[in-house]
Assembly symmetry: C2
Homo-oligomer: 227 residues x 2
C-alpha cells in the first residue's frame, strides 16, 4: 500500500543545512499497525509528514497505492489526503477560531454527507474521546490533554483508511492513554492502517512491528507479532 | 515557603462555568521536590499557573514566603516571578520571532548581568540540554522535543529558587527524559524547590512526594522519601 524508496529531506535555512532524513526506504502493507521510535530530533515527525503528504521529500520516491507522489504539488497532495488520511499532529494544530465541535466537523466538510449525518458523526466521535462536555469551548480554553483528544477525534471522524499519529498520548494520563491505544487497536482490527510515532515503549508494543530511527535513517526493526 | 489555602479557580465562558480548582490547600517547604499527578483536565496546569503567579485564583489565599499574593495585579506578580520562578510550560510558549539563543537569553534580560556573562550562561545551559547545534534556529524549525528542551533551558538559566515544570518530558524519548529528570534532581540537591506535573509514574518518583489531583481537588498524597 505504501512504499518509500531512498527518501531524503533537507531543510535549508540561511545559516545551516539540516539533513532530517538521510535515505529512508520502507514498505507498509495495507492494514498494518507500525510503531516508529527514536531519539528527539532524529526525523520521526519529518518522516510522518512525508508519509501523510503534508510535506514532500527532497529526493527519493513515494508510492501511495499505485501513484508515485513524491513530486506532487500541494493541491494534488491535499486531494489525496482528503478522505484517505487522518493525521494526529504532535502539536495538535487545532484552529483557534473554531470551537471543539467545529474543529472536528471541519474534517467532514468536503464529504457529501448531509448536515444532520455530519453532526451525528461528530457527536459519536466526541463521545468516544470523552470530549462532549467541552464541545462549545475553544482550543485555548482546553487542557493540553483535552486538545490532544480533540486532535484525535478530528483525525478519525472521516474513517480514513490510513491514520498517522505523532505521539498521540504525549499529554495524556495513563488511563486516557490506554483508551486511545485501545481505540487505535480497534480501528486497526477493522482494517485501518496505522503508523504511530511514540516515545513510549509501552504504547509502541500495540503495533505489529517497531521501526527504530536514528539520525534520519532506519537503523533496525523489531517484529512483535505476525501480521 | 509556599502555602495555598482553599484556592478556587472558576473559568467563565459565555456558555458555561468551569470550576477548574475546587478548594485546594497545600504547603510546600523550601527545597522540596513535589510531583503532581492526575487525569487529563483535572486542574494540574491551572494549579501550577497559580503557584507560578502566571494566573490568580478566584478565591482563597496564596502565601509566597511572607507575602499574601492571591489578589496581586499582573505587574506585581510579574515582579515576583522575575528572578524567583522558572516555568516550563506544557506547550512550551517559545517566542517565534526569536531564535533559540535569544529565547533563552530573554530570561536574563532583566538581571544586571553584563552581556558577556549573559551569553556564557546561555551557552552553558544550551550545552546541558544538548541544544547548541540548533541555537540559531527558530522554534518552528525545531522538533517537538527540541522545543521542549529550549523551554527547559529558558526556565533554569536564571537559577531561580523555584522551578515549576508542566509535563517536562512529554515530548522526549526515554534517554532525553532521563537526562531532564537527572538535571531537576541535581538542581533540587543544590536547594531549588521543584513542583512538577507529570503523567509518567516513573518520573513522578523522582520527587519526595506525589500529590494526586482529581476534579480540581487534592484527593491523596504518597510520601516517597523523607524530606
Ligand atoms: N481558559 C479556560 N477557559 C475555560 N476553561 C478552561 C480554561 N483553561 C482550562 N480550562 C478547563 O479547566 C479544567 C482544568 O484544566 P487544566 O489545564 O488545569 O487541566 P490539566 O489537569 O492540566 O489537564 P492535562 O493533563 O490534560 O494537561 C479543564 O476542564 C479545562 O477545560
Ligand atoms: N522547518 C525546519 N527547518 C529546519 N530544520 C528543521 C525543520 N523542521 C525540522 N527540522 C530539523 O529536522 C530534524 C528532525 O526533526 P523532526 O521534527 O522530524 O524530529 P523528531 O524525531 O520528530 O523529534 P521529536 O521526538 O523531538 O519530536 C531536527 O533536527 C529538526 O531541528
Ligand atoms: Mg516529532
Ligand atoms: Mg495540563
Amino acid at each position: 500500500m505504501i512504499r518509500l524508496a531512498d527518501i531524503k529531506k533537507i531543510y535549508r535555512t540561511t545559516e545551516v543545512e539540516t539533513s532530517a532524513l538521510n535515505g529512508v526506504s520502507l514498505t507498509i502493507q495495507q492494514g498494518e499497525f507500525v510503531s516508529i521510535m527514536g531519539p528527539s530530533g532524529c526525523g520521526k515527525s519529518t518522516l510522518l509528514n512525508i508519509l501523510g503528504l503534508i510535506d514532500s521529500p527532497s529526493e527519493g520516491e513515494y508510492y501511495f497505492g499505485d501513484l508515485e507522489v513524491a513530486k506532487y504539488s500541494e493541491s494534488k497532495r491535499a486531494d489525496i489526503r482528503k478522505g484517505n488520511i487522518g493525521f494526529i499532529f504532535q502539536s495538535f494544530n487545532l484552529i483557534d477560531e473554531l470551537n471543539v465541535f467545529e474543529n472536528v466537523e471541519l474534517a467532514l466538510i468536503y464529504t457529501d454527507m448531509k448536515s444532520k449525518n455530519r453532526k451525528e458523526r461528530v457527536m459519536a466521535v466526541l463521545e468516544k474521546m470523552n470530549m462532549t462536555h467541552r464541545m462549545k469551548h475553544y482550543p485555548q480554553q482546553l487542557s493540553g490533554g483535552q486538545q490532544q483528544r480533540v486532535a484525535i477525534a478530528r483525525a478519525i471522524v472521516n474513517r480514513p483508511k490510513l491514520i498517522l499519529a505523532d505521539e498521540p498520548t504525549g499529554n495524556l494520563d495513563t488511563k486516557n492513554g490506554e483508551d486511545v491505544m485501545q481505540l487505535l487497536t480497534q480501528l486497526n482490527e477493522e482494517g485501518t492502517t496505522i503508523i504511530m510515532v511514540t516515545h513510549s515503549p509501552h504504547d509502541a508494543e500495540y503495533g505489529q512491528r517497531i521501526i527504530n530511527v536514528l539520525d534520519g535513517k532506519i537503523v533496525s526493526e523489531n517484529k512483535l507479532k505476525a501480521f
